[in-house]
Amino acid sequence: MIRNSYFINIIRFVLLILVQVLVFNKLNFFGYINPMVYILFLYWYPIKEKRQLFLLLSFLLGFLIDLFSDTVAIHAAATVTIAYLRPTIMRFCFGVNYEFQNFKLTNTTRAQQITFLTLLIIIHHLVFFTLEIFSLENTLLILKKVLTISIATLILCLLLSSLFSVKKE
């Protein structure tokens, strides 16, 4: 069972990177909207796993995406930030429930799942575009990009997560 979950996570890791860089980075909807679906890795990652490993994996995930898209380390910074904040966000979304031993993402309500995903995406995009544009003169541009691309990412993540949903056990 444990080995199985490692296996699934490795497959997810590789597939999400490939899908991100080969499909979604080339989308350029309206010239600039490229949804970042690899955030789903952090959404799906098991809750009870070690946090250090999770942080390192998230860094690696972001960094590999950076290598492919020539953005040096911006994806890495944004991904590591949401990986660190994930327990806080989960406590906010699911209440104290999530600290129980038998807590599973599939047991929560749809609204809670969407809130969780939305918060991950918004924080990620906020960090990402602040670093990418790197000047406070363009605050409006940053907000515009964060808003539009967050919506695109959210829609695609919801579609993908309902396509490949973890089976209810």
Partner: protein, 273 residues
């Protein structure tokens, strides 16, 4: 001592996060200020090969369009060749050649970021070196920034770090080509003095004071212009000839005399100090 260890143990997650964040921020900030980030780019073996494989597959879907473009370019070049005035003797002496052209293909293109890079399928093994100019049949594309053995990354003109010397065609009024990140088919020509007569529709070409590009490579036409805040120079919007979203075949220009020029300039600078 024990307190320090306790502190580290208690905040180990936070410290790890901080460590990783600082690494990524340092790399990012460094890449903003320095000329190039040598190792972390898509010209490396892993990303280059993945992009090359996928582009091998996807090029098949655009072959017809690509052929049409190449025939169009051949037609234009033939026209130039046939109408050229005959010289008494053909120049075959290779020592007089200044520019060498290498053909290649784009395997990864981006145009939605503020700092865009293009990855191409030739590298140091095929004679590509940093700071070579890259053009397409229609116009200018960028400058080679990093090379690996078989791949290279090109700093696109759609990059806030890019500054290329350009001029209004058939005049000697120069400016530098920059990008304001708003539209991927429009770039800006900065630092053109207000006394210069500027008209909408004028053609912009590369200038002579660059050792990277030959003079008179087309860039685009003036879309609109106005005097900027300080009223001393124009800000000019240029519509590019290239469709930056669909570049495939490219040419890399190697200026053979560039090293000599740089050496000479360095020597002059040293002497004047």
């Amino acid at each position: 001592m024990r307190q320090i260890i306790n502190f580290i143990l208690r905040y180990k997650n936070f410290l790890l996060y901080l460590f990783l964040l600082i690494i990524s921020l340092a790399l990012t900030v460094q890449s903003h200020s320095y000329h190039r980030s040598k190792y972390f780019n898509s010209s490396n073996w892993l990303t280059g090969n993945i992009y090359a494989t996928t582009s091998n597959i996807t090029t098949y879907f655009g072959l017809g369009e690509e052929n049409k473009k190449l025939v169009e370019e051949n037609k234009r070049l033939r026209n130039l060749l046939f109408n050229q005035k005959k010289e008494d003797s053909m120049q075959l002496d290779t020592t007089n050649i200044t520019y060498r052209v290498i053909a290649s293909q784009v395997i990864k293109n981006s145009y939605s970021l503020p700092r865009n890079y293009i990855t191409i399928k030739k590298g140091s093994a095929q004679g590509i070196k940093p700071d070579m100019g890259v053009i397409t049949a229609n116009g200018i594309l960028g400058i080679v920034e990093n090379t690996s053995k078989n791949f290279a990354t090109v700093q696109s003109i759609l990059n806030t770090k890019s500054r290329i010397n350009a001029k209004i065609k058939n005049t000697n009024h120069y400016g530098s080509l920059v990008w304001d990140t708003k539209d991927y088919n429009t770039v800006q020509l900065a630092d053109v003095e207000r006394l210069v007569p500027v008209k909408i529709g004028d053609t912009i070409v590369t200038g002579a004071s660059s050792s990277i590009f030959p003079e008179n490579i087309p860039i685009g036409i003036i879309k609109n212009f106005d005097l900027n805040n300080s009223q001393s120079s124009y800000s000019i919007d240029i519509k590019l000839f290239n469709n930056m979203a669909a570049v495939r075949s490219i040419y890399i220009i190697d200026n053979i005399q560039r090293e000599e020029i740089i050496e000479l300039e360095a020597k002059t600078n040293n002497d004047s100090q």
